[in-house]
Amino acid sequence: MTSKSNHSSPIFGVTETDTVMLDFDDVTFKTARYWARRAMNWFKLRGFLILKSSERCYHVVFNRMVDWTENNSIMAWVAELSHNQGLQKWHRMQSIKVGSTLRFTTKGDKSSPRIVYREGEEDDRIRDFLRFRRQIKRMLND
């Protein structure tokens, strides 16, 4: 095993406790959309946004504002039913640090996540998430 290192900038991500966010690893787009849609309907989350972070990796952000207890419950529900190992591990890490974090800048050779699908309303948490993401990205590009 070899490792190559060079100076770079840190990874920036947004941390939220009142927004339901999910990080699917090693799944197809249709699987991520299926679980996002199912969670949205079951918990009445009113809308979601899917971002492609890298090949077969997707981030999902939901629209309705929730408290941390409900957020944790929703993340655990999806992680348990989907049997996605990456999502289960991610959920454990977020529970430890009490806050869900999703990256929005590049990481190694992975590009920054880009929006690939929208469904439902975007008037609450999705709007704030996109606004904040746009602000930080604009600042980092300057």
Binding site: S3, S8, P10, F12, T101, F132, Q135
Partner: protein
């Protein structure tokens, strides 16, 4: 509006690292290794410390208003500053007491090939 921003990733920090160094030491013994030789040189190990860049562990979790977060990002990028462990602090507090929450180091981009 209060927002929370995470700044993380692999980074290196400067630390005093113990290092074993081998050197020659003059030793006296009544009967040395050779006949008539009382003083002789022997190779011994000595633990010394040296400043080295080692992989660090930690992350910043900033919360605060947008303008303060922007200033904190600029400060980190200009530094470059790295976190002292898991730092969850308001951006304003970080800007006022930067040395308390961060130290000198540099962020790296590790690519692992197997």
């Amino acid at each position: 509006m209060v927002k929370e921003l995470a700044v993380y990733g692999p980074f290196m920090v400067y630390r005093q690292v113990a290092h074993r160094q081998r050197y020659w030491k003059w030793v006296y013994h009544r009967t040395g290794p050779k006949a008539g030789e009382k003083w002789y040189k022997r190779r011994v190990w000595k633990t010394v410390t040296r400043m080295r860049a080692v992989p660090g562990k930690g992350r910043f979790e900033f919360h605060g208003a947008g303008r303060e977060l922007m200033r904190a990002i600029i400060r980190i990028k200009k530094g470059p500053r790295v976190p002292k462990g898991y730092v969850r602090v308001s951006a304003r507090e970080f800007l006022e007491h930067e040395e308390e929450y961060s130290e000198e180091g540099y962020w790296i981009d590790i690519e692992v090939e197997s």
